[in-house]
Symmetry: C2
Subunit: 119 residues, 2 copies
């Protein structure tokens, strides 16, 4: 049982859109993602997702609006809602979601990560 | 579906050890707690708890050691583990835990909150 320093963990990897697992609780994972550029449109039929920006800025595009997140701001995307995360510049994001959440939800893409690594 | 700015939410209340609900997902709550002084020793038999310090410092006392958390650091306290959060000075903490988690777990105290308010 050890604490986790988010900055130290973010310094351990470089890849964008490849979340790493930093903690596990109540069948949920705490994941750390570096974002830059565009992710794919997708939805999760059964899982709500929490995004908290720690560094940089992340925009969550929805079909009817865009939500821009700065450090210290979070958004919960409810199950079934199509979304597309984008970051103009590098951002660091903490994600909280059920363990069985698929990376790109209902779509499969060349960027889909099928197995998440712990960091 | 709106974003939440943590600093703005923390500015809306003053009470210590009285977490407010700032979000809900997958039968879990996102809670915001202001901490200062000592909480009570307790455990949760069925729920793991996540503590992320956003401002100030929080120490989680365990029976065999103390874990000191600064901003950007988190700790997951597994179910069944006795713990006592303490802060010498005011701190702001983000908590993830199942919706049915009791404030002071297996003990009841004069500081026990039985119904959490949304903020």
């Amino acid at each position: 049982m050890e604490k986790v320093n988010l900055s130290e963990k973010f310094n351990l990897f470089e890849e964008f859109w490849t979340p790493k697992i930093a903690g596990e609780l109540n069948d949920q994972y705490i994941k750390l993602a570096k974002t830059k550029g565009e992710f794919v449109w997708h939805k999760h039929d059964d899982e709500d997702e929490f995004f908290l920006v720690m560094h940089g800025a992340l925009t969550i595009k929805l079909r009817d609006k865009n939500i821009h997140l700065e450090p210290g701001e979070f958004l919960i995307v409810p199950k079934g809602v199509e979304h597309k995360p984008v970051s103009e510049h590098e951002a660091h994001v903490l994600v909280f979601e059920p363990k069985n959440t698929k990376h790109t939800g209902d779509v499969e893409s060349e960027i889909t990560v099928k197995k998440f690594d712990w960091i």
